[in-house]
């Protein structure tokens, strides 16, 4: 997916090989440090970490290549992986036997390669695999993928590492045949059984329906039982929870084996296991039933495509399950959410706050200038205390504070003292910025932190910046003019600006597609924009020109955001990979892969150590910037997530999705031990909750696109007027 898409067939092959590496890779993102793009280092970093499984897969690939007489590629792969030339024949059988985690591999040598073959052929059922590869001119592509993706894929491996990725089984997934006529019977049998069990187990066991339904349907489709599949779908699709409707619609359109090729939803279901959490009692019940009935078909599916997270304790109730379900691939695994998250804020740098000139004057007039100092000190001492939940100050390297940043911080503190405390009795004032004459073209809005600038991204590929203060936007003078300036003068910063260019708004041209994401840097010198054209662009707000175009996403980039400390930024888009960049690197520093659908929104944690991404797969993931690992998978939304926000103290997160709900998360503490049955990790804010809803303010046919609290707690909103 990260590669240039140069052919449908190739892409399929590539994707598949990538997936396999994904499952095996245990490489560490640290290993690639800041140069992940270079192929050699990526490849090498992987080989030392290669465990038995890892090697086994590599060998399987080698063997496959050999069979298809792609010797050149074999050499390249061998060189890349650092394998000895003789390693590929003998150890295969051993490692396969040992490493495939209890998979009955008779004749492991052939079995491995066969399974691999079958996997490739699943992906490209029409064309023979070698033709697909040949057409691409050698086998540089898989290798390229291998190296460029291993950093991206580690996360999946980390989260799915312990459940022994039964590669072979997943591969030959749907090749096994059952009698297509019996499918509805099986399903019905299970349905009857689950309806007849005790109430306390029913809700839990009902979770099985949806994944089972999907996989049975896909099996039918894959084995060319088109009519049976259709009937099966019609018969049972009504039983599924309403929030799966979107997926069902995609499924329903897929009625032929050929359609499965290249369908992303399909790939998701096949490559990732649907995660269910079921209490031990319920699970035993299900297992016993299936074994008694000799219902191997269903049992196989459960074993192969479902990951059942068994816990000891009371079975969960329907509402508890509903609160967590809804994502594309079931709930987050228990251990995926166990990592510690340092959600505290970083210590504020100690800035010597110079005495406030204005205040001092005022106080001098009043004749009592002394009180100010102790107050300042107390504020300083408060920030000196280290939050126990905060990450280490140097956990990730942050840019040094510049003088201007310090000034800004001081301003910020001053403003903060004037902050209005909001509450149910003291509602905020809202200032609404309407974009007039936007002709439905406004796609993204951002405010600077000090609320002095507004930027809008438009469908006509432009980015526009407005100044909402009397201070107009000015460009820096040209180089020739700049050389004439006296650099020693005090007002040099004033002098470098070109008065002639002063205007209230500036237009930035450069993108070649609608601009979907936009973000100001905290120091207001830069602006980021992400677009349909697959690039993220960095603009200078001094010269109003484009500085860098970050290419990496080859598909539309839905969102981008600057770190609260500047320098870093995150982007995510249609390719399902979120990328962490630094402004001075043209390649990403981290790639966060794991989402099963488009990443729709990205957000930095206030302490800059974590990144949250919301996705169309209806999950939110929290990623550790340092390690690149996914530290939280938050499920519960029933629709694509379209907005995220952290509380200023970093402890809570709110998310909004197209299901019309806002969820408030308190999932960063270690609340989720083993008693997660009690805690769902979020509070549900339904639309009409009277206790929480403080006010509704209607606009006049102006959809609200962006909200922003100023430092004094004034609420700014923006949207395009749509007459």
């Amino acid at each position: 997916m990260a590669a240039v898409q140069d052919g449908q067939l190739n892409l399929e092959v590539e994707k598949d090989i990538k997936t396999e590496i994904t499952n095996d890779g245990s490489g560490n993102i640290n290993a690639n440090s800041s140069s992940p793009g270079s192929t050699s280092s990526g490849g090498k970093s992987k080989s030392p970490a290669g465990s038995g499984e890892d090697q086994q897969t590599l060998l399987a690939v080698l063997q496959f290549l050999k069979r298809n007489k792609l010797t050149e590629s074999v050499d390249i792969l061998r060189r890349e992986a650092g394998l000895s030339a003789d390693a590929d024949d003998s150890p295969v059988s051993e490692s396969a036997g040992a490493g495939s985690g209890g998979v009955p591999s008779v004749g492991a040598d052939g079995g491995d390669a066969n399974s691999l073959l079958s996997r490739v052929s699943i992906a490209t059922p029409v064309a023979p695999p070698d033709c697909g590869l040949d057409s691409h001119g050698g086998l540089a592509t898989p290798i390229y993928f291998h190296s460029s993706n291993n950093c991206a894929c580690t996360v999946v491996a980390a989260s799915g590492g312990e459940d022994q990725p039964d590669v072979n089984v997943v591969l030959s997934a749907y090749s096994q045949q059952g009698d297509p006529v019996l499918y509805p019977l099986y399903y019905n049998g299970l349905k009857k059984f689950i309806e007849s069990v005790l109430d306390c187990h029913r809700a839990e066991l009902s979770q099985v329906f949806y994944p089972l339904f999907v996989h049975m349907y896909l099996e039918l489709v894959y084995n060319n039982h088109e009519n049976e599949a259709k009937q099966f779908f019609e018969k049972f699709s009504g039983d599924q929870e309403c929030y799966y409707e979107e997926d069902l619609r995609i499924l329903s359109s897929m009625s032929k084996k050929e359609h499965m090729k290249g369908n992303e939803t399909m790939l998701d279901f096949r490559t990732s296991k649907f995660v269910l959490r079921i209490s031990r009692d319920s699970y035993q019940l299900l297992k016993r039933h299936l074994q008694e009935r000799q219902n191997n078909q269903i049992w196989n599916i459960i074993q192969e495509h479902l990951y059942i997270d068994i816990f000891d304790g009371m079975p969960r109730s329907k509402s508890q399950i509903d609160a967590m379900s809804g994502s594309l691939a079931g709930e987050g695994k228990r251990d995926a959410n166990k990592a510690k998250v340092f959600y505290g804020l970083l210590k504020e740098p100690e800035i010597e706050v110079p005495l406030d000139d204005e205040d001092e004057e005022a106080e001098n007039e009043e004749g009592k200038p002394k009180k100010k100092k102790p107050k300042k000190d107390s504020m300083g001492s408060k920030s000196k205390k280290q939050d126990p939940n905060a990450p280490q100050q140097t956990r990730i390297p942050l840019p040094e504070l510049k003088d201007s940043d310090k000034l800004d911080k001081i301003m910020n503190m001053k403003e903060a003292t004037k902050k209005i405390r909001l509450g149910p009795d003291n509602l905020p004032s809202i200032c609404f910025y309407s974009f007039l004459n936007a002709y439905q073209g406004l796609t993204a809005v951002d405010f600077t932190d000090d609320s002095s600038l507004i930027a809008g991204g438009f469908a006509d590929s432009t980015v526009r910046v407005w100044s909402v203060t009397p201070k107009k936007l000015r460009r820096v003078k040209s180089a020739a003019d700049l050389s004439n300036i006296d650099k020693e003068s005090d007002d040099v910063l004033e002098r470098i600006m070109d008065e002639k260019t002063a205007s209230e708004s500036k237009i930035l041209y450069g993108h070649s597609g609608p601009v979907y994401g936009i973000s100001f840097s905290p120091d207001r010198n830069y602006l980021l924009s992400s677009s349909e054209d697959g690039t993220v662009r960095l603009w200078s707000l001094q010269t109003f020109t484009c500085l860098v175009g970050y290419k990496g996403h080859n598909y539309p980039v839905w969102d981008t955001q600057f770190s609260p400390y500047g320098y870093y930024f995150i982007s995510g888009g249609h390719d399902r990979v979120a990328r962490l960049w630094a402004t001075d690197h043209y390649q990403p520093l981290r790639m966060f892969a794991g989402h099963l659908a488009d990443i729709t929104c990205t957000l930095f944690h206030p302490n800059s150590n974590y990144v949250a991404t919301g996705s169309a797969d209806r999950t939110i993931r929290l990623w550790d910037v340092l390690t690149g690992n996914c530290v939280r998978i938050l499920t519960g939304h029933k629709g694509p997530i379209h907005s995220l926000a952290f509380s200023p103290n970093g402890k809570f997160m709110a998310s909004g999705a197209t299901d019309g709900r806002v969820l408030l998360w308190d999932a960063f503490d270690d609340v989720e031990l083993d008693d997660f049955t009690a805690a769902t990790g979020h509070i549900h804010l339904p639309e009409n909750s009277q206790e929480l809803l403080l006010g509704t303010y209607m606009t006049k046919s102006t959809p609200v696109i962006h909200l922003h609290f100023t430092r004094r707690n004034l609420l700014l909103a923006a949207g395009a007027y749509n007459p």
Partner: protein
Amino acid sequence: MAEERRPKQCTVVLPTESMKAMAESIGVGQLQEESCAALSEEVSYRIKEIAQDALKFMHHGKRRKLTTSDIDHALKLKNVEPLYGFQSQEFIPFRFASGGGRELHFYEEKEVDLSDIINTPLPRVPLDVSLKAHWLSIEGVQPAIPENPPPAPKEQQKAESTEPLKVVKPGQEEEGSIQKGQGAISAEAKGKKEGLMRMKPRSTHELSVEQQLYYKEITEACVGSCEAKRAEALQSIATDPGLYQMLPRFSTFISEGVRVNVVQNNLALLIYLMRMVKALMDNPTLYLEKYLHELIPAVVTCIVSKQLCLRPDVDNHWALRDFAARLMAQSCKTFSTTTNNIQSRITKTFTKSWLDEKTQWTTRYGCIAGLSELGPDVIKTLILPRLTVEGARIKAVSEGPVVSNIDKIGADHVQSLLLPRPTLTVSQSGIGGSGGSRSPSIIKVPSSLTLMSTRPGTPTQPSPPATKYIVMATSAGASSTQQVLDGSLVITLSSSSGSSVTSTVASATSTLQPLVKLESRAASGLGGSRPLQKYIVVSLPTSASSSLESKSGMLPPSSSSTSPISLEAGMKMDHTGCVPNGTLLPI
């Protein structure tokens, strides 16, 4: 619902005929049925896939309308060349054509002459994007400024007034159904709390200083003497979105105003007040139901009151009654529900006073006017059966010994009111508004016959279909002439001397004729190429010479070249309720 939809989604595929048509369009003549089926299934799947991706772009573009560019972007995702030539933000009109058993939808591209495009002036450059700030809310309260929507949308006003139970009596049906899962007690307690919370904003109708000023200005203008100001004020009432808060004040103003002015017989003010009611009802953002208890009595008073003016024999209070009757009918149509039963209550009131023998002619007129505005059903069931009785009564007044002048005028008005209505309904259904041919269907109407027959001298004439005015002479012995000129009918009526059309005023003044409504059409012989003209002449007895003069200003001599269209427009206005000043204002 979802269950119903899903199987449908599963099966929707393009018809195989489309495949054939497309194949032919690219030169593949014979396509086998099987290939067609396979193709259509595949194509349908791909189209669905692309549509799904396009939706994604629509969502991220923050739009609700899928545009062609979304499709293009989705195609780009799939590495497919976008479709060129479909660049449009708006809907692309696909034309439909069928023939030879084929159905086709196509995008019509007209041939464009380049020179035309070059020669036409450039279109105006669209306005550039600009930013405008306003306060959406100030400390939790939304200011009533044009940038914000009106404080209470009409639906909410309606919901509040039609289902007050929800708010006033919480813990009952609605609340119970909402909070089904909870215990009854907690639900009720909660409901009460919610009810209180919701009731609070309902009762606050505090006006800001600006609103008070506005109210003062508006009410003064509405009843003041400056007609231009009044028009502006009424316009403001009819269009301003933020009047919700002031509605109770306006309602009280009107109700009190009518009460006072009926007693004082101040016709002009009553008319102004009714025009205010009309303006309030015209305002699309106001929902008047809550204030009907004040407005309806006021309106009904203006319909049926015995006396509305100081000189009932002279002033045209009839027009006010007509106007108010139309208002009544409109509010019945809008607000009558099964619970408030406005229409039936109003109908009962009207019928009751109409049936009363002692009822004055003025009230009688109002009752009939009110009833007749309520629709054909009411006319059919309530008015038509009474026509003979009423006809006899009118006859008694007009032919009998002169009791009082006022009675006579009243009877005449009632008659004129009763006359045209049935004819109108018939003739409208009979003729599709064509000016030329005119069927004499009116004559078949029994009611009109009855009425006609009450008057020996009255000519039985077909009425022009497109107008409600009918020409009639009222007094016995009046000579009337009826000319039929090549299909376009001109009826010239004059009460005394049989003078020509042009001399109506003169003739009216010369005799003691109470009232003549006259309609004329310029005959082809008279006007030559001139379009049809309709005049209404309201002539009054000689005693009212002053008012007559004011009227005669309105009356263009048909021989002069005054535009007939403007007059006709005036007539229409008169009918639709915007009362032209000249006819209504007895100054």
